[in-house]
């Protein structure tokens, strides 16, 4: 069956490729090559009761329905937002009593398109300056930053002097009256070796007990799912 509609004429009839200059290679067509990216073999969960099979069927079916609905909903919401944005900026131009939402109706139901005081962040100001000029851009936008300290790396590099490093950092911020800008969060997390090592270091019962305290991040995804 031909494709339904041609968007443009065929540019050139199919051509055979010219011979590649340079490197001559032996054809190893009949020999199976070891593919470094061959899919991994995973152990298969036994299914004596048939429950696994039913769950897999339901998860795959429902995930497919959910993906399709989710994508459709995203697309349609985006279109409605785009239409509403035009109204929002035209209707409210010159006013300062700005509602948080616009109501969109059909004969039996309605949805609200909300415009919250939340914006995506930009890597630099160039598109803002291009849109409204430098003065206006500087009036309504500012640089923001977050300094992050990799605690694991700092510990590794600073060793025993880590306490001095932390107190020095606190003193530095205090000296500039910026103590409140410095926040810290202390957590307990597994070492790099834990994920593999737990299977030899602990019994299944101990691992169950550890799971209750520090559960592994688990996900169910369809086999062959790719990111793009």
């Amino acid at each position: 069956m031909p494709m339904p509609k041609s968007t443009h004429p065929t540019p050139q009839t199919e051509a055979t490729s010219p011979p590649k200059p340079g490197f001559k290679k032996i054809d190893l067509g009949g020999i199976t090559k070891k593919d470094a990216k061959a899919p991994k073999e995973y152990p298969v969960l036994p299914d004596p009761t048939g429950d696994v099979s039913k769950l897999v069927r339901d998860i795959v079916t429902e995930q497919e329905q959910l993906d399709a609905l989710d994508g459709s909903l995203k697309t349609k919401k985006s279109e409605l937002i785009s239409i509403t944005k035009q109204f929002f900026f035209n209707h409210l131009s010159g006013r300062s009593d700005i509602p948080s939402s616009v109501e969109c109706r059909n004969c039996s139901s309605a949805v609200l398109v909300s415009f919250q005081n939340r914006y995506k962040v930009l890597p630099d100001e160039a598109p803002l300056i291009a849109a409204v000029g430098e003065e206006s851009a500087a009036r309504f936008f500012r640089q923001s930053f977050e300094l992050k300290v990799d605690g694991d790396k700092a510990l590794e590099l600073a060793g025993d002097s880590i306490g001095d490093l932390i107190s020095g950092l606190q003193e530095l911020f205090a000296k500039h009256g910026a103590t409140d800008a410095l926040t810290a969060k202390s957590v307990i997390k597994p070492t790099k070796d834990y994920h593999i090592g737990r299977h030899t270091a602990f019994t299944p019962e101990q691992n169950e007990a550890l799971e209750r305290a520090c559960p592994v991040i688990a996900a169910v995804k369809k086999k062959s799912d790719k990111s793009d």
Binding site: M3, E14, S72
Partner: protein
């Protein structure tokens, strides 16, 4: 955003002939920016799930076959390739002949799919999918792509149901897209692409990429994972 061209290119049209709806594709000689970086991340489609499970779309959409390869933005004057994260593509050297062909293209940036490694088909080929430019709709971009590329030696059409399996190191562009002539026709195309994968013995096609015909190609450098809801991908699996 206008695209620039090298004056020594093969396009013999005058700037006036190329001016189309106020946008000139031949503006001034290419002056490289240092360091070279893409003006945008490639547009990332929303995941629309399987096409046969998806609700009907609103508006006028074109459906391109989605090819299994490496998404890349190509800077045609220098033959530089960037991945979808805006970083230099590490396998750029494997597309030398195709990049040489694209040096004859008057459009500065092209959104392409690189065919390498994932399967044995069309090795070293670049499939031109789109022209990143902010002011033109998909329909107009596709027409302009055709105008700028079709006469360049080494550029071939890719008829979705007749994949030139022996072709290598070339530039291809789709000769057709599936259109909104009804869900039934699209579902038949959907099935046929899967049948073709079986014949080819690999996952050459991954599904459909639906693009709204009136959609622009908005530039954004905020995040490579930001989705563009006017493009929707439908995967077989």
């Amino acid at each position: 955003m206008d695209a620039y061209t090298d004056p020594a290119l093969t396009d013999k049209r005058t700037p006036e002939e190329i001016k189309w709806r106020g946008v000139s594709v031949v503006a001034k000689p290419y002056v490289p920016t240092v360091p070279l970086s893409p003006p945008t991340y490639p547009l990332r489609p929303v995941n629309g799930g399987r096409f046969d499970k998806a609700p009907a779309k609103h508006g006028d959409w074109a459906y391109e076959p989605k090819v299994n390869g490496w998404r890349t933005l190509v800077h045609t004057p220098t033959g530089t390739m960037f991945n979808r994260h805006g970083q230099r593509l590490s396998i750029e050297h494997e597309f030398g002949p195709a990049l040489a062909i694209l040096k004859n293209c008057p459009l500065e940036w092209l959104d392409c799919e690189g065919m390498e490694r994932r399967h044995g088909l069309l090795r070293g080929c670049l499939i031109v999918l789109d022209w990143p430019t902010e002011k033109l709709s998909y329909n107009v971009r596709q027409a302009e792509l055709y105008t700028c590329l079709h006469h360049i030696p080494g550029v071939h059409s890719l008829a979705p149901f007749a994949v030139p399996t022996k072709l290598t190191d070339s530039v291809l562009m789709f000769a057709h897209t599936c259109d909104g002539e009804g869900q039934a026709v699209l579902k038949e195309c959907w099935k046929k692409l899967q049948d073709l994968n079986r014949v080819l013995g690999c996952e050459f096609y991954e599904g459909f990429l639906a693009k709204r015909r009136d959609s622009l190609y908005p530039f954004q450098l905020r995040s490579p994972s930001e989705e563009f809801p006017q493009w929707v991908k439908h995967r077989f699996i």
